[in-house]
Protein backbone atom coordinates (compact mmCIF):
# COMPACT_ATOMS: atom_id res chain seq x y z
CA UNK A 1 0.00 0.00 0.00
CA UNK A 2 1.20 3.47 -0.86
CA UNK A 3 1.21 6.05 1.92
CA UNK A 4 1.13 9.74 1.33
CA UNK A 5 1.30 11.05 4.86
CA UNK A 6 1.91 14.61 5.92
CA UNK A 7 0.98 16.56 9.04
CA UNK A 8 -2.66 16.03 9.88
CA UNK A 9 -3.43 19.71 9.38
CA UNK A 10 -2.82 19.52 5.65
CA UNK A 11 -3.69 15.89 5.02
CA UNK A 12 -6.91 16.79 3.31
CA UNK A 13 -5.04 18.56 0.55
CA UNK A 14 -3.17 15.48 -0.54
CA UNK A 15 -5.28 14.22 -3.38
CA UNK A 16 -7.41 14.45 -6.41
CA UNK A 17 -6.80 16.66 -9.35
CA UNK A 18 -9.22 16.67 -12.20
CA UNK A 19 -10.74 19.32 -14.43
CA UNK A 20 -14.20 18.90 -13.04
CA UNK A 21 -15.94 20.56 -15.94
CA UNK A 22 -19.05 18.63 -16.69
CA UNK A 23 -20.13 19.82 -20.13
CA UNK A 24 -16.99 21.98 -20.10
CA UNK A 25 -18.41 24.37 -17.51
CA UNK A 26 -16.92 25.61 -14.26
CA UNK A 27 -18.71 24.83 -11.01
CA UNK A 28 -19.76 28.50 -10.88
CA UNK A 29 -21.37 28.21 -14.31
CA UNK A 30 -23.04 24.94 -13.39
CA UNK A 31 -24.55 26.82 -10.40
CA UNK A 32 -25.68 29.71 -12.61
CA UNK A 33 -22.95 32.23 -11.71
CA UNK A 34 -20.39 33.87 -14.00
CA UNK A 35 -17.55 31.48 -14.89
CA UNK A 36 -14.93 33.38 -12.89
CA UNK A 37 -16.94 33.83 -9.67
CA UNK A 38 -15.31 33.30 -6.32
CA UNK A 39 -17.44 30.73 -4.54
CA UNK A 40 -16.88 29.90 -0.88
CA UNK A 41 -18.26 27.34 1.53
CA UNK A 42 -17.67 28.39 5.16
CA UNK A 43 -17.63 25.09 6.96
CA UNK A 44 -17.46 24.08 10.63
CA UNK A 45 -16.03 20.66 11.43
CA UNK A 46 -16.53 18.30 14.37
CA UNK A 47 -20.21 18.67 15.30
CA UNK A 48 -21.24 16.12 17.96
CA UNK A 49 -17.73 15.98 19.43
CA UNK A 50 -18.72 18.19 22.39
CA UNK A 51 -21.71 20.20 23.54
CA UNK A 52 -19.55 23.34 23.40
CA UNK A 53 -18.73 22.66 19.74
CA UNK A 54 -22.42 22.06 19.01
CA UNK A 55 -23.74 25.24 20.60
CA UNK A 56 -21.09 27.42 18.95
CA UNK A 57 -21.72 25.78 15.56
CA UNK A 58 -25.51 26.01 15.87
CA UNK A 59 -25.22 29.69 16.74
CA UNK A 60 -22.94 30.32 13.76
CA UNK A 61 -25.33 28.42 11.46
CA UNK A 62 -28.33 30.32 12.82
CA UNK A 63 -26.56 33.66 12.27
CA UNK A 64 -25.51 32.54 8.77
CA UNK A 65 -21.90 33.18 9.83
CA UNK A 66 -21.10 29.80 8.33
CA UNK A 67 -22.86 28.05 5.47
CA UNK A 68 -22.27 24.42 6.36
CA UNK A 69 -20.97 21.96 8.91
CA UNK A 70 -20.23 18.27 9.30
CA UNK A 71 -20.97 15.78 12.04
CA UNK A 72 -18.96 13.07 13.80
CA UNK A 73 -21.37 10.16 14.10
CA UNK A 74 -19.41 8.06 16.63
CA UNK A 75 -19.38 10.88 19.21
CA UNK A 76 -21.53 11.19 22.31
CA UNK A 77 -23.47 14.29 21.24
CA UNK A 78 -24.80 12.96 17.92
CA UNK A 79 -28.36 12.98 19.24
CA UNK A 80 -28.02 16.68 20.09
CA UNK A 81 -27.06 17.42 16.49
CA UNK A 82 -29.84 15.18 15.17
CA UNK A 83 -32.32 17.16 17.25
CA UNK A 84 -30.97 20.43 15.78
CA UNK A 85 -31.12 18.95 12.27
CA UNK A 86 -34.78 18.00 12.74
CA UNK A 87 -35.61 21.52 13.96
CA UNK A 88 -33.59 23.10 11.12
CA UNK A 89 -34.32 21.04 7.99
CA UNK A 90 -32.57 23.65 5.82
CA UNK A 91 -29.28 23.44 7.75
CA UNK A 92 -26.48 22.25 5.48
CA UNK A 93 -25.10 19.35 7.51
CA UNK A 94 -22.85 16.62 6.20
CA UNK A 95 -20.93 13.82 7.83
CA UNK A 96 -17.38 14.27 9.05
CA UNK A 97 -16.48 10.60 8.59
CA UNK A 98 -14.49 9.70 11.67
CA UNK A 99 -11.75 7.09 11.91
CA UNK A 100 -9.75 8.68 14.74
CA UNK A 101 -10.35 9.64 18.39
CA UNK A 102 -7.64 12.20 19.07
CA UNK A 103 -8.29 13.74 22.47
CA UNK A 104 -6.67 12.68 25.71
CA UNK A 105 -9.54 12.18 28.15
CA UNK A 106 -12.65 12.04 25.95
CA UNK A 107 -12.53 9.05 23.62
CA UNK A 108 -14.89 7.22 21.29
CA UNK A 109 -15.04 3.97 19.40
CA UNK A 110 -16.58 3.06 16.06
CA UNK A 111 -20.28 2.92 15.23
CA UNK A 112 -19.83 -0.59 13.80
CA UNK A 113 -19.62 -3.73 15.83
CA UNK A 114 -16.03 -3.70 17.06
CA UNK A 115 -15.39 -7.30 16.06
CA UNK A 116 -16.16 -6.32 12.46
CA UNK A 117 -13.61 -3.47 12.40
CA UNK A 118 -10.67 -4.59 14.58
CA UNK A 119 -8.12 -2.72 12.48
CA UNK A 120 -9.79 0.60 13.43
CA UNK A 121 -9.07 0.16 17.14
CA UNK A 122 -5.99 1.20 19.06
CA UNK A 123 -4.72 -1.02 21.91
CA UNK A 124 -7.12 0.66 24.38
CA UNK A 125 -10.15 -0.23 22.27
CA UNK A 126 -10.93 3.28 20.98
CA UNK A 127 -10.29 4.60 17.48
CA UNK A 128 -6.64 5.42 16.75
CA UNK A 129 -5.64 8.80 18.20
CA UNK A 130 -3.66 10.01 15.19
CA UNK A 131 -4.13 9.92 11.43
CA UNK A 132 -0.79 8.22 10.76
CA UNK A 133 -1.31 5.05 12.86
CA UNK A 134 -4.92 4.99 11.67
CA UNK A 135 -3.88 5.03 8.02
CA UNK A 136 -1.12 2.50 8.66
CA UNK A 137 -3.33 0.03 10.46
CA UNK A 138 -6.81 0.20 9.12
CA UNK A 139 -8.00 -2.13 6.41
CA UNK A 140 -9.89 -0.38 3.61
CA UNK A 141 -12.77 -2.86 3.78
CA UNK A 142 -13.17 -2.17 7.51
CA UNK A 143 -12.96 1.59 6.94
CA UNK A 144 -15.68 1.19 4.33
CA UNK A 145 -17.86 -0.82 6.73
CA UNK A 146 -17.44 1.87 9.38
CA UNK A 147 -18.17 4.88 7.17
CA UNK A 148 -21.30 3.13 5.89
CA UNK A 149 -22.32 2.48 9.50
CA UNK A 150 -21.76 6.15 10.37
CA UNK A 151 -23.95 7.29 7.47
CA UNK A 152 -26.67 4.79 8.38
CA UNK A 153 -26.57 5.78 12.07
CA UNK A 154 -26.99 9.46 11.14
CA UNK A 155 -29.84 8.70 8.73
CA UNK A 156 -31.54 6.51 11.34
CA UNK A 157 -31.48 9.48 13.75
CA UNK A 158 -33.19 11.69 11.16
CA UNK A 159 -30.16 13.48 9.69
CA UNK A 160 -30.20 13.93 5.90
CA UNK A 161 -26.52 14.47 5.10
CA UNK A 162 -25.72 16.94 2.35
CA UNK A 163 -22.07 15.90 1.90
CA UNK A 164 -19.17 13.85 3.19
CA UNK A 165 -15.73 14.79 4.39
CA UNK A 166 -13.04 13.15 6.51
CA UNK A 167 -11.99 13.88 10.08
CA UNK A 168 -8.24 14.52 10.24
CA UNK A 169 -8.04 13.61 6.58
CA UNK A 170 -7.65 9.90 7.20
CA UNK A 171 -9.69 9.03 4.11
CA UNK A 172 -7.38 11.16 1.97
CA UNK A 173 -4.23 9.48 3.18
CA UNK A 174 -3.98 6.47 0.88
CA UNK A 175 -5.38 5.82 -2.61
CA UNK A 176 -7.25 2.78 -1.26
CA UNK A 177 -9.00 4.81 1.44
CA UNK A 178 -9.75 7.61 -0.97
CA UNK A 179 -11.28 5.02 -3.31
CA UNK A 180 -13.55 3.74 -0.54
CA UNK A 181 -14.60 7.30 0.33
CA UNK A 182 -15.51 8.20 -3.24
CA UNK A 183 -17.28 4.87 -3.85
CA UNK A 184 -19.50 5.33 -0.80
CA UNK A 185 -20.17 8.99 -1.67
CA UNK A 186 -21.23 7.96 -5.17
CA UNK A 187 -23.55 5.27 -3.82
CA UNK A 188 -25.24 7.74 -1.47
CA UNK A 189 -25.27 10.37 -4.25
CA UNK A 190 -23.45 12.85 -2.02
CA UNK A 191 -20.83 15.43 -2.94
CA UNK A 192 -17.60 15.03 -0.98
CA UNK A 193 -14.64 17.15 0.00
CA UNK A 194 -11.78 16.73 -2.46
CA UNK A 195 -9.28 19.39 -3.45
CA UNK A 196 -7.51 19.87 -6.75
CA UNK A 197 -3.76 19.24 -6.63
CA UNK A 198 -1.26 19.34 -9.47
CA UNK A 199 -0.07 16.06 -10.93
CA UNK A 200 -2.43 13.83 -8.99
CA UNK A 201 -1.71 10.12 -9.52
CA UNK A 202 -3.90 8.31 -12.04
CA UNK A 203 -5.03 5.91 -9.29
CA UNK A 204 -6.74 8.80 -7.51
CA UNK A 205 -8.28 10.26 -10.64
CA UNK A 206 -9.61 6.93 -11.84
CA UNK A 207 -12.26 6.75 -9.12
CA UNK A 208 -13.74 10.16 -9.91
CA UNK A 209 -16.67 10.72 -12.23
CA UNK A 210 -17.19 13.66 -14.56
CA UNK A 211 -19.98 15.03 -12.38
CA UNK A 212 -17.88 15.13 -9.21
CA UNK A 213 -17.26 18.60 -7.86
CA UNK A 214 -13.62 19.15 -6.96
CA UNK A 215 -12.65 22.17 -4.88
CA UNK A 216 -9.96 24.54 -6.09
CA UNK A 217 -8.65 25.44 -2.66
CA UNK A 218 -9.13 25.11 1.06
CA UNK A 219 -8.40 27.73 3.72
CA UNK A 220 -7.79 26.53 7.26
CA UNK A 221 -5.93 28.03 10.20
CA UNK A 222 -2.91 25.99 11.24
CA UNK A 223 -0.51 25.96 14.17
CA UNK A 224 1.84 28.46 12.49
CA UNK A 225 -0.81 31.18 12.83
CA UNK A 226 -0.34 33.09 16.08
CA UNK A 227 -3.42 33.87 18.16
CA UNK A 228 -2.98 37.62 17.65
CA UNK A 229 -2.80 37.18 13.86
CA UNK A 230 -6.04 35.21 13.64
CA UNK A 231 -8.15 37.96 12.08
CA UNK A 232 -5.41 38.96 9.63
CA UNK A 233 -4.90 35.35 8.56
CA UNK A 234 -8.53 34.92 7.62
CA UNK A 235 -9.03 38.40 6.12
CA UNK A 236 -5.95 37.91 3.94
CA UNK A 237 -7.16 34.47 2.94
CA UNK A 238 -10.48 35.98 1.83
CA UNK A 239 -8.64 38.72 -0.12
CA UNK A 240 -6.45 36.13 -1.80
CA UNK A 241 -9.25 33.82 -2.88
CA UNK A 242 -9.04 33.08 -6.59
CA UNK A 243 -11.98 32.50 -8.90
CA UNK A 244 -13.27 28.99 -8.41
CA UNK A 245 -14.74 26.96 -5.57
CA UNK A 246 -13.07 27.16 -2.16
CA UNK A 247 -13.88 26.00 1.34
CA UNK A 248 -12.91 27.74 4.56
CA UNK A 249 -12.76 25.10 7.26
CA UNK A 250 -13.25 26.39 10.80
CA UNK A 251 -13.39 24.67 14.18
CA UNK A 252 -15.94 26.32 16.42
CA UNK A 253 -16.48 26.09 20.14
CA UNK A 254 -16.87 28.10 23.30
CA UNK A 255 -13.73 28.26 25.43
CA UNK A 256 -15.43 26.71 28.47
CA UNK A 257 -14.76 24.03 31.09
CA UNK A 258 -16.01 21.19 28.90
CA UNK A 259 -14.02 22.12 25.81
CA UNK A 260 -10.90 22.90 27.83
CA UNK A 261 -11.17 19.37 29.25
CA UNK A 262 -11.86 17.74 25.88
CA UNK A 263 -8.84 19.44 24.31
CA UNK A 264 -6.55 19.31 27.36
CA UNK A 265 -2.82 19.36 26.52
CA UNK A 266 -3.68 20.03 22.87
CA UNK A 267 -3.65 23.75 22.07
CA UNK A 268 -3.75 23.06 18.31
CA UNK A 269 -7.43 22.99 17.38
CA UNK A 270 -8.02 23.38 21.13
CA UNK A 271 -10.55 25.29 23.19
CA UNK A 272 -9.11 28.82 22.83
CA UNK A 273 -8.48 28.15 19.11
CA UNK A 274 -12.13 27.26 18.59
CA UNK A 275 -13.28 30.36 20.46
CA UNK A 276 -11.04 32.46 18.18
CA UNK A 277 -12.57 30.81 15.11
CA UNK A 278 -16.07 31.41 16.49
CA UNK A 279 -15.27 35.04 17.27
CA UNK A 280 -13.90 35.58 13.78
CA UNK A 281 -16.68 33.97 11.73
CA UNK A 282 -19.35 35.84 13.71
CA UNK A 283 -17.50 39.20 13.42
CA UNK A 284 -18.48 42.15 11.22
CA UNK A 285 -14.91 42.07 9.82
CA UNK A 286 -15.52 38.69 8.24
CA UNK A 287 -18.81 39.80 6.72
CA UNK A 288 -17.17 42.93 5.40
CA UNK A 289 -14.23 41.02 3.89
CA UNK A 290 -16.62 38.67 2.10
CA UNK A 291 -18.61 41.61 0.69
CA UNK A 292 -15.60 43.70 -0.33
CA UNK A 293 -14.07 40.76 -2.17
CA UNK A 294 -17.31 39.80 -3.92
CA UNK A 295 -17.33 36.31 -2.46
CA UNK A 296 -20.43 34.25 -3.25
CA UNK A 297 -21.31 31.91 -0.37
CA UNK A 298 -22.50 28.48 -1.43
CA UNK A 299 -23.55 25.35 0.38
CA UNK A 300 -22.85 21.66 -0.12
CA UNK A 301 -26.58 21.35 -0.73
CA UNK A 302 -26.09 23.42 -3.90
CA UNK A 303 -23.31 21.08 -5.01
CA UNK A 304 -25.45 18.04 -4.22
CA UNK A 305 -27.79 19.05 -7.02
CA UNK A 306 -24.86 19.00 -9.45
CA UNK A 307 -23.82 15.43 -8.73
CA UNK A 308 -27.32 13.95 -9.14
Amino acid sequence: MQYRMVAAAVLFLVFASVRARAQNKTVAERLGYPADSKLLIVHADDLAAAHSVDTASFEALDKKSITSASIMAPCAWLTEVASYAKDHPDADLGLHLTLTSEWKVDRWGPVSSIDKVPSLLDPTGYLWPEALPAARNLKPEEAEREIRAQIERAIALGIHPTHLDSHMGVLFSTPELFGVYVKVAHEYKLPFLAVRIPNAPAQLLSVLSEKDVILDSVVMANPTVHANEWRDFYVNAVKNLKPGLSEMIVHLGHDDAELQAVTVDHPDYGSAWRQRDFDFVTSPEFKKALEENHIILVKWKDLKKLVN
Copy 2:
Protein backbone atom coordinates in the same frame (compact mmCIF):
# COMPACT_ATOMS: atom_id res chain seq x y z
CA MET B 1 -38.73 -14.46 33.56
CA GLN B 2 -39.88 -12.80 36.72
CA TYR B 3 -39.85 -9.02 36.82
CA ARG B 4 -39.68 -6.99 39.96
CA MET B 5 -39.76 -3.48 38.63
CA VAL B 6 -40.29 -0.31 40.60
CA ALA B 7 -39.29 3.30 39.96
CA ALA B 8 -35.66 3.53 38.95
CA ALA B 9 -34.83 5.62 41.99
CA VAL B 10 -35.48 2.76 44.38
CA LEU B 11 -34.68 -0.16 42.11
CA PHE B 12 -31.46 -0.88 43.91
CA LEU B 13 -33.35 -1.72 47.08
CA VAL B 14 -35.26 -4.58 45.55
CA PHE B 15 -33.21 -7.56 46.49
CA ALA B 16 -31.10 -9.71 48.70
CA SER B 17 -31.71 -10.39 52.33
CA VAL B 18 -29.28 -12.54 54.22
CA ARG B 19 -27.75 -12.44 57.65
CA ALA B 20 -24.28 -11.69 56.39
CA ARG B 21 -22.57 -12.76 59.57
CA ALA B 22 -19.50 -14.68 58.61
CA GLN B 23 -18.43 -16.46 61.77
CA ASN B 24 -21.53 -14.95 63.40
CA LYS B 25 -20.03 -11.44 63.44
CA THR B 26 -21.49 -8.17 62.18
CA VAL B 27 -19.67 -6.34 59.40
CA ALA B 28 -18.55 -3.79 62.02
CA GLU B 29 -16.98 -6.54 64.10
CA ARG B 30 -15.36 -8.10 61.05
CA LEU B 31 -13.78 -4.66 60.42
CA GLY B 32 -12.62 -4.36 64.05
CA TYR B 33 -15.30 -1.96 65.33
CA PRO B 34 -17.85 -2.51 68.11
CA ALA B 35 -20.74 -4.73 66.97
CA ASP B 36 -23.31 -1.91 67.06
CA SER B 37 -21.26 0.73 65.18
CA LYS B 38 -22.88 2.89 62.55
CA LEU B 39 -20.78 2.42 59.43
CA LEU B 40 -21.32 4.61 56.37
CA ILE B 41 -19.96 4.65 52.85
CA VAL B 42 -20.50 8.06 51.18
CA HIS B 43 -20.58 7.17 47.52
CA ALA B 44 -20.73 9.22 44.30
CA ASP B 45 -22.22 7.54 41.25
CA ASP B 46 -21.74 8.12 37.52
CA LEU B 47 -18.05 8.97 37.14
CA ALA B 48 -17.03 9.22 33.44
CA ALA B 49 -20.54 10.28 32.38
CA ALA B 50 -19.47 13.93 32.03
CA HIS B 51 -16.44 16.09 32.72
CA SER B 52 -18.53 18.13 35.15
CA VAL B 53 -19.39 14.97 37.11
CA ASP B 54 -15.73 13.95 37.14
CA THR B 55 -14.33 17.24 38.41
CA ALA B 56 -16.94 17.55 41.16
CA SER B 57 -16.40 13.93 42.22
CA PHE B 58 -12.59 14.22 42.15
CA GLU B 59 -12.80 17.36 44.29
CA ALA B 60 -15.10 15.62 46.79
CA LEU B 61 -12.77 12.58 46.91
CA ASP B 62 -9.73 14.81 47.38
CA LYS B 63 -11.43 16.68 50.23
CA LYS B 64 -12.53 13.36 51.76
CA SER B 65 -16.12 14.64 51.56
CA ILE B 66 -17.01 11.26 50.07
CA THR B 67 -15.31 7.94 50.67
CA SER B 68 -15.96 6.18 47.39
CA ALA B 69 -17.29 6.44 43.85
CA SER B 70 -18.09 4.27 40.87
CA ILE B 71 -17.36 4.61 37.18
CA MET B 72 -19.41 4.14 34.01
CA ALA B 73 -17.06 2.34 31.63
CA PRO B 74 -19.04 2.87 28.39
CA CYS B 75 -18.99 6.66 28.74
CA ALA B 76 -16.80 9.14 26.88
CA TRP B 77 -14.81 10.38 29.87
CA LEU B 78 -13.54 6.99 31.10
CA THR B 79 -9.97 7.91 30.21
CA GLU B 80 -10.23 11.03 32.38
CA VAL B 81 -11.20 8.89 35.36
CA ALA B 82 -8.48 6.35 34.56
CA SER B 83 -5.94 9.16 34.62
CA TYR B 84 -7.24 10.31 38.04
CA ALA B 85 -7.15 6.71 39.30
CA LYS B 86 -3.51 6.35 38.25
CA ASP B 87 -2.60 9.59 40.02
CA HIS B 88 -4.60 8.59 43.14
CA PRO B 89 -3.95 4.88 43.71
CA ASP B 90 -5.68 5.05 47.11
CA ALA B 91 -8.95 6.41 45.69
CA ASP B 92 -11.80 3.99 46.35
CA LEU B 93 -13.22 3.56 42.85
CA GLY B 94 -15.55 0.81 41.73
CA LEU B 95 -17.50 0.18 38.57
CA HIS B 96 -21.03 1.45 38.10
CA LEU B 97 -21.99 -1.34 35.70
CA THR B 98 -23.97 0.38 32.98
CA LEU B 99 -26.76 -1.13 30.91
CA THR B 100 -28.70 2.07 30.20
CA SER B 101 -28.06 5.41 28.46
CA GLU B 102 -30.71 7.67 29.92
CA TRP B 103 -30.00 11.22 28.76
CA LYS B 104 -31.61 12.93 25.83
CA VAL B 105 -28.72 14.34 23.79
CA ASP B 106 -25.64 12.57 25.14
CA ARG B 107 -25.84 8.83 24.49
CA TRP B 108 -23.54 5.84 24.68
CA GLY B 109 -23.46 2.24 23.54
CA PRO B 110 -21.98 -0.88 25.10
CA VAL B 111 -18.29 -1.66 25.51
CA SER B 112 -18.83 -5.08 23.89
CA SER B 113 -19.07 -5.67 20.19
CA ILE B 114 -22.65 -4.68 19.42
CA ASP B 115 -23.37 -7.83 17.44
CA LYS B 116 -22.60 -9.83 20.58
CA VAL B 117 -25.10 -7.92 22.75
CA PRO B 118 -28.04 -6.99 20.49
CA SER B 119 -30.58 -7.24 23.30
CA LEU B 120 -28.84 -4.35 25.09
CA LEU B 121 -29.53 -1.87 22.29
CA ASP B 122 -32.56 0.31 21.79
CA PRO B 123 -33.85 0.96 18.24
CA THR B 124 -31.39 3.87 17.80
CA GLY B 125 -28.40 1.64 18.56
CA TYR B 126 -27.56 3.04 21.99
CA LEU B 127 -28.22 1.34 25.34
CA TRP B 128 -31.86 1.44 26.46
CA PRO B 129 -32.79 4.79 28.00
CA GLU B 130 -34.78 3.40 30.94
CA ALA B 131 -34.32 0.55 33.39
CA LEU B 132 -37.70 -1.01 32.61
CA PRO B 133 -37.23 -1.60 28.85
CA ALA B 134 -33.64 -2.60 29.56
CA ALA B 135 -34.71 -5.26 32.06
CA ARG B 136 -37.51 -6.42 29.80
CA ASN B 137 -35.34 -6.79 26.73
CA LEU B 138 -31.86 -7.74 27.71
CA LYS B 139 -30.73 -11.33 27.80
CA PRO B 140 -28.84 -12.26 30.98
CA GLU B 141 -26.01 -13.87 29.00
CA GLU B 142 -25.56 -10.65 27.02
CA ALA B 143 -25.71 -8.53 30.16
CA GLU B 144 -23.01 -10.80 31.60
CA ARG B 145 -20.85 -10.41 28.49
CA GLU B 146 -21.20 -6.64 28.71
CA ILE B 147 -20.43 -6.26 32.40
CA ARG B 148 -17.35 -8.45 31.96
CA ALA B 149 -16.31 -6.23 29.03
CA GLN B 150 -16.78 -3.11 31.17
CA ILE B 151 -14.61 -4.54 33.95
CA GLU B 152 -11.93 -5.60 31.47
CA ARG B 153 -11.96 -2.20 29.73
CA ALA B 154 -11.48 -0.42 33.06
CA ILE B 155 -8.68 -2.78 34.10
CA ALA B 156 -7.00 -2.34 30.71
CA LEU B 157 -6.96 1.42 31.29
CA GLY B 158 -5.24 0.97 34.66
CA ILE B 159 -8.24 1.13 36.99
CA HIS B 160 -8.24 -1.36 39.87
CA PRO B 161 -11.92 -1.52 40.85
CA THR B 162 -12.69 -1.88 44.53
CA HIS B 163 -16.37 -2.85 44.09
CA LEU B 164 -19.31 -3.21 41.73
CA ASP B 165 -22.72 -1.61 41.64
CA SER B 166 -25.40 -1.11 39.02
CA HIS B 167 -26.41 2.06 37.16
CA MET B 168 -30.14 2.69 37.55
CA GLY B 169 -30.39 -0.63 39.35
CA VAL B 170 -30.84 -2.66 36.18
CA LEU B 171 -28.86 -5.57 37.60
CA PHE B 172 -31.15 -5.69 40.64
CA SER B 173 -34.32 -5.84 38.60
CA THR B 174 -34.65 -9.58 37.93
CA PRO B 175 -33.29 -12.61 39.79
CA GLU B 176 -31.49 -13.70 36.62
CA LEU B 177 -29.66 -10.36 36.28
CA PHE B 178 -28.88 -10.30 39.98
CA GLY B 179 -27.43 -13.79 39.61
CA VAL B 180 -25.15 -12.65 36.79
CA TYR B 181 -24.02 -9.62 38.83
CA VAL B 182 -23.12 -11.70 41.89
CA LYS B 183 -21.43 -14.41 39.82
CA VAL B 184 -19.17 -11.89 38.09
CA ALA B 185 -18.44 -10.08 41.38
CA HIS B 186 -17.42 -13.39 42.96
CA GLU B 187 -15.14 -14.24 40.05
CA TYR B 188 -13.39 -10.88 40.29
CA LYS B 189 -13.34 -11.18 44.11
CA LEU B 190 -15.08 -7.82 44.45
CA PRO B 191 -17.67 -6.71 47.00
CA PHE B 192 -20.88 -5.46 45.41
CA LEU B 193 -23.79 -3.25 46.35
CA ALA B 194 -26.69 -5.32 47.72
CA VAL B 195 -29.13 -4.21 50.38
CA ARG B 196 -30.92 -6.31 52.95
CA ILE B 197 -34.70 -6.57 52.46
CA PRO B 198 -37.21 -8.58 54.47
CA ASN B 199 -38.47 -11.86 53.03
CA ALA B 200 -36.13 -11.94 50.04
CA PRO B 201 -36.92 -14.81 47.66
CA ALA B 202 -34.78 -17.94 47.98
CA GLN B 203 -33.69 -17.51 44.34
CA LEU B 204 -31.90 -14.29 45.28
CA LEU B 205 -30.36 -15.66 48.44
CA SER B 206 -29.10 -18.81 46.77
CA VAL B 207 -26.43 -16.95 44.78
CA LEU B 208 -24.88 -15.28 47.84
CA SER B 209 -22.00 -16.68 49.78
CA GLU B 210 -21.44 -16.44 53.52
CA LYS B 211 -18.60 -13.95 53.06
CA ASP B 212 -20.67 -11.49 51.01
CA VAL B 213 -21.22 -8.15 52.68
CA ILE B 214 -24.85 -7.05 52.52
CA LEU B 215 -25.72 -3.44 53.36
CA ASP B 216 -28.38 -2.71 55.95
CA SER B 217 -29.66 0.46 54.32
CA VAL B 218 -29.14 2.98 51.56
CA VAL B 219 -29.79 6.73 51.72
CA MET B 220 -30.40 8.56 48.45
CA ALA B 221 -32.20 11.80 47.60
CA ASN B 222 -35.24 11.22 45.41
CA PRO B 223 -37.60 13.45 43.44
CA THR B 224 -39.92 13.92 46.44
CA VAL B 225 -37.21 15.94 48.21
CA HIS B 226 -37.60 19.64 47.45
CA ALA B 227 -34.50 21.66 46.61
CA ASN B 228 -34.87 23.80 49.73
CA GLU B 229 -35.10 20.69 51.94
CA TRP B 230 -31.89 19.14 50.63
CA ARG B 231 -29.75 19.78 53.69
CA ASP B 232 -32.49 18.70 56.09
CA PHE B 233 -33.10 15.51 54.14
CA TYR B 234 -29.48 14.45 54.43
CA VAL B 235 -28.92 15.65 58.00
CA ASN B 236 -32.03 13.78 59.14
CA ALA B 237 -30.91 10.70 57.25
CA VAL B 238 -27.57 10.82 59.09
CA LYS B 239 -29.38 11.27 62.44
CA ASN B 240 -31.64 8.33 61.70
CA LEU B 241 -28.90 5.91 60.67
CA LYS B 242 -29.16 2.67 62.62
CA PRO B 243 -26.24 0.50 63.73
CA GLY B 244 -25.02 -1.51 60.79
CA LEU B 245 -23.56 -0.79 57.37
CA SER B 246 -25.20 1.90 55.23
CA GLU B 247 -24.37 3.70 52.00
CA MET B 248 -25.27 7.27 51.13
CA ILE B 249 -25.45 7.50 47.36
CA VAL B 250 -24.90 10.97 45.94
CA HIS B 251 -24.74 12.31 42.39
CA LEU B 252 -22.14 15.03 42.08
CA GLY B 253 -21.57 17.61 39.41
CA HIS B 254 -21.12 21.30 38.77
CA ASP B 255 -24.23 23.05 37.48
CA ASP B 256 -22.52 24.24 34.28
CA ALA B 257 -23.23 24.38 30.54
CA GLU B 258 -22.05 20.83 29.88
CA LEU B 259 -24.05 19.21 32.67
CA GLN B 260 -27.13 21.29 31.93
CA ALA B 261 -26.94 19.97 28.36
CA VAL B 262 -26.31 16.35 29.40
CA THR B 263 -29.31 16.39 31.74
CA VAL B 264 -31.56 18.61 29.62
CA ASP B 265 -35.31 18.11 30.25
CA HIS B 266 -34.47 15.82 33.19
CA PRO B 267 -34.42 17.74 36.49
CA ASP B 268 -34.38 14.49 38.50
CA TYR B 269 -30.70 13.68 39.04
CA GLY B 270 -30.07 16.71 36.81
CA SER B 271 -27.49 19.46 36.82
CA ALA B 272 -28.86 21.60 39.70
CA TRP B 273 -29.56 18.41 41.69
CA ARG B 274 -25.91 17.36 41.36
CA GLN B 275 -24.68 20.79 42.38
CA ARG B 276 -26.91 20.56 45.50
CA ASP B 277 -25.44 17.14 46.32
CA PHE B 278 -21.93 18.50 45.82
CA ASP B 279 -22.63 21.53 47.98
CA PHE B 280 -24.03 19.33 50.74
CA VAL B 281 -21.31 16.68 50.89
CA THR B 282 -18.58 19.34 50.94
CA SER B 283 -20.36 21.42 53.63
CA PRO B 284 -19.34 21.76 57.29
CA GLU B 285 -22.93 20.74 58.20
CA PHE B 286 -22.40 17.29 56.75
CA LYS B 287 -19.09 16.83 58.56
CA LYS B 288 -20.71 17.99 61.79
CA ALA B 289 -23.70 15.66 61.41
CA LEU B 290 -21.37 12.70 60.86
CA GLU B 291 -19.34 13.58 63.96
CA GLU B 292 -22.32 14.29 66.22
CA ASN B 293 -23.92 11.01 65.30
CA HIS B 294 -20.73 8.99 65.74
CA ILE B 295 -20.75 7.74 62.17
CA ILE B 296 -17.70 5.69 61.13
CA LEU B 297 -16.84 6.25 57.48
CA VAL B 298 -15.74 3.13 55.62
CA LYS B 299 -14.72 2.35 52.07
CA TRP B 300 -15.49 -0.48 49.69
CA LYS B 301 -11.79 -1.22 49.86
CA ASP B 302 -12.27 -2.17 53.52
CA LEU B 303 -15.10 -4.51 52.55
CA LYS B 304 -13.01 -6.00 49.76
CA LYS B 305 -10.68 -7.45 52.37
CA LEU B 306 -13.63 -9.22 54.00
CA VAL B 307 -14.73 -11.07 50.86
CA ASN B 308 -11.27 -12.42 50.01
